[in-house]
């Protein structure tokens, strides 16, 4: 093993930040809080770069074992960190974008109450996210997995005075729990069949097993992992929490719900690549789930008016793309998209935050308009993100998305076509958002102003990354770990997808800049479809009616009042009442009358005589 790189410092720095801010932040000055929060993450980023330079090409996985977390019998779980090329990418993304967003947040959150609390949570998130990425076994990964979920919960519910924030946080956590349910079961199956949770050991023994004996189990494991990933990465049918999660402060949306945490599912599937490749059915399912999600979320995104909601559905949709990438075997492409998406989606959110900040917490695009001139830096940077996500060559989104779509075409052409159509929609709704926000006349009542430099600088950096990110050699870098894609660069296919993007932008321009009456006309014309999509297919409502409500009502009326209080306690109390009734009956026999008592004595005597003289005596 190579010399120790002190990997533990990477997550522990933000954790220290969390501790300091959490314990002392309340009474500390903002400057101090800023210094601790930003400083710890930036230091962590620096440490990451130092570690990665130290490790160089990372031909083999670099593992550092610290201590046994718990052990039972032959089974033990260690706190072990590992770095390979995949981890390296993720580490850079997480700490890098994390640093930017921390910096941004110092400006964005400047006037919020609970400032220290926000940063403490954010640091805690970094800690868990880094654990997730660094983990060398499934359980430690799960620690990070759950931890980021927790921070997500805390940060979504940051404005805890508002009911919707609390609701959204809870929803996020619980839906994630459903995913974790799958994740846990997958782990259980792994332990049952492989006896360990260490990545290396599991993958190795999975690969050497006889496929006919273990295929079913591995498929099951992978499907369960998929459930977990679907929860975390907001895939159908568990995507519902992510749009609601926008209740949190915007930097949170950028960091957690766009750039890092939600991609954990993708990371996890990529990490488990060795298993997934042994389970083609599971892989297929991943692809289908991905494309369905991509398409489905994109349609919803078309009609949202809340700028953050639009981006949220966009995130869901983009995550779908990543899943498609994984599902069709283009793991590197999936991760590549993770990276580029982290750039441009973080940028989109931060930009949106900047807009919201400028417009005094207005998020409805119908109250924006013409902001291009009022907040030019924001506009400029957002435009970079726009072109990136719309797949305009040669910007970052184009590269990663095309890598995925090409791989998909090689695999299942229909996925490609749906993907292309979705790309068109993506271009449309992002353009729509851009047009509604920055073009036309200002329709709001606030006095928009440009954000402070602590916010704009990260925007600018991200903008650059969004533009150029596509040229990072991530595919090549990851190839040894995640395998090569064998899709040939078919220019026709590329052209089609680019065209779809262009069409989307064009259509949006027509509808929202050139002739703004069209949307309303269409809405009245296709009222049913419009309502359906506008209300997000009523998925939340269906879940409510079909799952949440029955469980709640059933628990209350059937289980608690009916079974618990009624049946069990009723039976228990019934025994009591019955006993008392018997007692009452006996009391009546005991009426105080001597002659009755004598009768009982005589009758008892008769019974006794009968019993004792007849039993056994008379045959």
């Amino acid at each position: 093993m190579a010399e120790s790189q002190q990997l533990w410092l990477i997550p522990i720095l933000p954790f220290l930040g969390f501790l300091i801010n959490g314990l002392a932040g309340r009474r500390a000055s903002k400057a101090f809080v800023n210094a601790v929060a930003v400083g710890s993450v930036v230091l962590s980023f620096i440490w990451v770069t130092k570690v990665l330079t130290g490790l160089g090409q990372i031909e083999t996985t670099h593992i550092e074992r610290y201590f046994t977390w718990f052990s039972s019998g032959n089974f033990s779980v260690g706190v072990d960190f590992a770095v390979d090329r995949l981890t390296a990418v993720m580490l850079l993304v997480v700490t890098g974008i994390g640093s930017l967003i921390h910096i941004y947040a110092t400006g964005y959150m400047a006037e919020e109450e609970g400032y220290y609390r926000f940063f403490a949570y954010l640091n805690l998130f970094m800690f868990f996210m880094l654990i997730l990425v660094l983990a060398n076994n499934f359980l430690l990964l799960f620690v990070g997995w759950e931890g980021v979920g927790l921070c997500s919960y805390l940060l979504i519910g940051f404005y805890f005075h508002e009911k919707f924030a609390g609701d959204a946080g809870k929803k996020a956590f619980i839906v994630n729990r459903i995913g974790d349910f799958g994740f846990s079961l997958a782990m259980f199956l792994i332990v049952v069949h492989f006896g360990t949770l260490d990545f290396g050991a599991v993958f190795e023994s999975a690969a050497t097993r006889q496929p006919e004996t273990s295929a079913g189990v591995i498929t099951a494991i992978c499907l369960l992992f998929l459930l977990g990933a679907a929860g975390k990465s907001a895939q159908v049918p568990l995507y519902v929490w992510l749009p609601d999660a926008m209740a949190g402060p915007t930097p949170v949306s950028a960091l957690i719900h766009a750039a890092t945490m939600v991609t954990a599912g993708v990371y996890m599937v990529a990490r488990s690549k060795s298993l997934f490749v042994l389970a083609p059915i599971a892989l297929e399912t991943v692809a289908v789930v991905g494309i369905v999600t991509a398409f489905f979320a994109a349609t919803i995104g078309l009609l949202q008016n809340d700028i953050k909601k639009v981006f949220a559905y966009s995130t869901v949709s983009q995550l779908g793309y990543m899943f498609v990438g994984l599902g069709v075997g283009a793991f590197s492409a999936g991760i590549f998209h993770v990276v580029t998406h982290a750039f441009f989606k973080a940028l989109l959110f931060l930009g949106a935050g900047s807009i919201i900040h400028a417009c005094h917490h207005e998020q409805d695009m119908r109250h924006f308009g013409g902001l291009r001139k009022k907040i030019p830096i924001t506009f400029a940077t957002l435009a970079c993100a726009w072109v990136a996500i719309a797949g305009v060559p040669p910007f970052s989104g184009f590269h990663s998305k095309d890598a995925i779509l090409l791989a998909a075409h090689a695999h299942h052409p229909w996925i490609y076509w749906v993907g292309v159509f979705t790309a068109g929609m993506t271009a449309f709704y992002v353009s729509r958002a851009m047009f509604l926000t920055f073009f036309g006349e200002y329709r709001g009542h606030a006095h928009p102003h440009e954000s402070p430099s602590s916010m704009t600088i990260p925007l600018i950096i991200l903008a650059l990354l969004s533009l150029a990110g596509g040229y990072f050699p991530i595919l090549e870098w990851l190839a040894p770990v995640l395998g090569e894609e064998h899709a040939d660069h078919n220019f026709a296919l590329v052209a089609v997808s680019v065209a779809a993007g262009a069409a989307g932008i064009l259509l949006a321009y027509v509808m929202y800049v050139a002739s703004p009456g069209i949307p309303d006309a269409l809405a009245t014309r296709f009222k049913g479809a419009y309502n359906l999509i506008y209300n997000k297919y009523f998925v939340d409502e269906v879940y409510d009616v079909a799952i949440v409500h029955p469980i709640e009502q059933g628990s209350r009326d059937l289980l608690w009042r009916g079974f618990d209080a009624g049946l069990i306690d009723g039976a228990v109390n019934g025994i009591g009442s019955l006993s008392r009734a018997v007692g009452g009956g006996l009391r009546r026999l005991q009426g105080g009358n001597i002659r009755s008592y004598a009768t009982w004595v005589a009758a008892g005597a008769v019974a006794l005589i009968l019993a004792m003289s007849i039993t056994g005596g008379v045959q």
Binding site: A602, A603, V606
Partner: protein, 168 residues
């Protein structure tokens, strides 16, 4: 002869006992009881228990029953009132219990006692005279005999405690 005597006095005894049970007035019942005791004394004689027969008349019929009569008269007890009794249990179970009890006892005697049964021959047993009784009482049964004095002491004490006039 002994058959006739037995039957005669047995019938008297049963009849008197029935009378005791069916009569409403305690005096009548008391007199019936005396009749039972008298006829039993005769049967004792038939069984060769002379001393007991005598005691039966003197102590039982004489002393105890007189005490009863005294009390009945002292309290001026009249006939029971003609109201329905309050004991449901005795009303429902009384007769069945009586019949069953008697039935079982008779059955058992007929069925099982027959093997040990013997004919009563008057005069064949003469161990029931005062001498024999006295011998047994003061040798083997000395302790119980002495102890019964405690019993009687208790009875006296009880009567005194319960029936005396308040001193104060």
């Amino acid at each position: 002869m002994s058959v006739i005597l037995f039957l005669l006095f047995a019938v008297i005894a049963v009849a008197a006992a029935v009378n005791l049970v069916v009569q409403r007035h305690p005096i009548t019942s008391a007199l019936s009881l005396i009749a039972v005791m008298g006829s039993l004394a005769v049967l004792y004689l038939l069984l060769g228990a002379e001393f007991i027969a005598a005691t039966q008349i003197i102590v039982y019929a004489g002393a105890i029953m007189v005490l009863f009569l005294f009390v009945i008269m002292l309290l001026n007890a009249g006939a029971e009132r003609q109201v329905p009794g309050r004991s449901l249990a005795s009303k429902l179970l009384g007769i069945p219990v009586f019949v069953l009890f008697l039935g079982i006892v008779c059955f058992l005697i007929q069925r099982f006692y027959a093997s040990a049964d013997s004919a009563v021959e008057f005069g064949s047993f003469t161990g029931g005279g005062p001498r024999e009784v006295g011998m047994a009482l003061f040798t083997r049964y000395l302790l119980p005999f002495e102890i019964t004095s405690v019993l009687i002491l208790v009875a006296i004490l009880g009567a005194v405690v319960l029936a005396r006039k308040e001193l104060d």
